[in-house]
Amino acid sequence: MASLTLDHVSKLYEQKGLPPTLAVKDVSMSIKDGEIIGLVGSSGCGKTSTLRMIAGFESITEGTIRIGERPINKLKAAERNVAMAFEGYALYPPLRVSDNIAFSLLRNKMPRTRADTKVKMIAELLEITNILDLYPPSLSGGQQQRVSLARALVRAADVFLLDEPMSQLEPHLRAKLRARIKDYLIQNKMTSVFVTHDQTEAMALADRIAVMSEGVLQQFGSPVDLKERPSNLFVAGFIGEPPMNLLKAQVTAEGRARRLMVQDEQGRQAFSFGVPDRAEATPLQNGRKVYVGIRPHKIVVAPGGNGAVERVTGTVVSSEWLGDQSYLGVEIGDAFLIVVADRSVRAPHESQITLGLPYEALHFFDSDSGEAVLHGSDLLRA
């Protein structure tokens, strides 16, 4: 186990007959010993190229990667002391599951009895004890993925790299295995980096998440940071389910008082509210066009008290009861908001509903650059 540093790392792919592609652009990350890191983004964002550069399956075009204090740019994959679970599983078909898992332990001269104990332990954790004697081709995709994970996690390595480690896990096992794997990584202080297209997975497992888009690291922070202080529109829209409500708005001034005029998708005014007259609200200057965002579960149904809450009234156009919670679709003018409410909330179709939009939960993004200009929580800071 060791720290892992990416120092201004870039990856350029040059293929004959194709224009060169800069897949990873100047990415820097400093990962602490024992930290669990998720690399997320849509396909083609550079997350897998980044992982493969750490593993040693891709050359590093520019920059340096270090494990501990040791630069690894020039080391072969096998010399880096990293363990990797592949998205395509890459199991040895002629070996039983147990031998697949034990393979690298035995190659590193671990005594057979000790290797068997380790295999038994990881097999129990991943619920594959009953298939240890089978051969990989007879397994389902979900089982093969668990074997591939077991083979990586059972090893002793400085860094663990996991490519889409849980994409095929059976739904009834996913919640439990996610939690067990997270606990195992923490208990064994394993520095790990996993790639996933599913932000839900990253939020569940990671201490910190690196959000990538078009080869650029958009934000690197804890799940709470990403949810509460997204650095731009991309991160705001990518992280969180249901996704953040984002509405176009423009600041107008009436004398000293500023108002935020919120619009629907077609640019018609839907509702408006006052901008607090505070120094922190300076970025919301007269005439500025922004997107205002609020996460669906931060909207308060039937708000009480006074607090720093903007109240708006809308029409319930849809309501979903999902067992453990309810989702509402609410129209205010022609603007549409998704609201997550408690499972006990009953909101009939076409009924009027008053919603509270707490200032601390609002986010403002520049409408041209998409960069965050203000998080509502800063407005309330004394």
């Binding site: 739904p171 009834h172 996913r174 919640a175 439990k176 996610r178 939690a179 067990r180 997270k182 606990d183 923490i186 839900t200 939020m203 569940a204 497992l205 201490d207 804890s222 799940p223 709470v224 829209g237 969180g240 389910e241 249901p242 996704p243 998708e265 077609q266 996460r295 669906p296 579960h297 156009v317 849809s318 979903e320 009861w321 999902l322 067992g323 453990d324 919670q325 989702y327 509402l328 679709g329 022609d334 549409f336 998704i338 997550v340 408690d342 499972r343 179709h349």
Partner: protein, 362 residues
Amino acid sequence: MAYLEVKSASKSFGKKRVLEGLSLEVERGECVVVFGPSGCGKTTLLRLIAGVLEPDQGEVWIDGKSVMGVAPEARGVAMAFQNFALYPHMDAFENIASPLRARKLPEDEVKQRVHEIAGLLRIDHVLDHLPRQLSNGQKQRTSLARSLVHGPSVLMLDDPLRNVDAKIRYEMRLELPRVFRKFHSTVLYVTQDYKEALALGNRIGVLMDGRFEQVDSPVGIYRNPKNQRVASLFGDPPINLFPIRPERGSDGVVHAQIGGQRLALGTRSAELAGRECILGVRPEDVAFDFEPAPGGIPVELEAVTPFNVRTVTLLKAGDDTEILASRPEDNILATARGHRRGWARIDFDRALFFDAASGIRL
């Protein structure tokens, strides 16, 4: 009489029996979701109703008449698939209008109908755009508008939200019920996503091995599943299942050992004494606390895995029983790392009991 009736339909492909005497009744204006794992026969059922396939046995009735032998296009059934394909050379208006043009409706009526549905689906401002100028969400809405515009007798949607991104999926999930209501559509909606099933169905048919295991309202399916299999398909994280053998104590109260603790099972458990059971507890009905509480099971907090807007915890009792608990998002708990002692309390008023052998709810 129901508007759409499937009467004991069976269908085999070669030796493989896909539908096994399946029956279903859908009322006019109702949305029934057909929910089940892949390969359970969902798509075959839709094809029988559309008339693309004929059943080996059984019949399909629409509006009081058998449609056996009636050609697909004469059944008035519209079907839309996972990949809503649009005509690339036609603008959104013409795409939506195409079923009306095929029926040679007067121009005024075409315009009026297209604008009405486009307004409802919030695409009235992009009607002059070509498909390539539309966002993915607008494409989705355009193709939905096209399948609804001529007022089909039965609208069948085969997993339409499967390949769209999260934002569009959530928006459409909330908007579709309103669209169905406005058009009084009779809808069969196929999905593998239990949330879509709960959100969209007036009723849900849980299809397994070619038969409906249960057909009921969303609340009925979630709160009163017919058996353990149905219970396990709805909910994420899934329902906790604990094998128990309830016993009546000397005080007359029915107890069971759960997580190494002897717990009273609540008022509904009188007839369970002496019977091998499976106790089903949904994660949202397990309360976790760092303070001891009466009726609490001492547990170790193994891991915290935030899940969307909820916080999921894996708890381990003294006898190694694992318990999943879920509650509204909690940033303090979410950043907790490492083990802590706590107490888990089960809400027995919401608990489910299944027969250990048959899996049937007691």
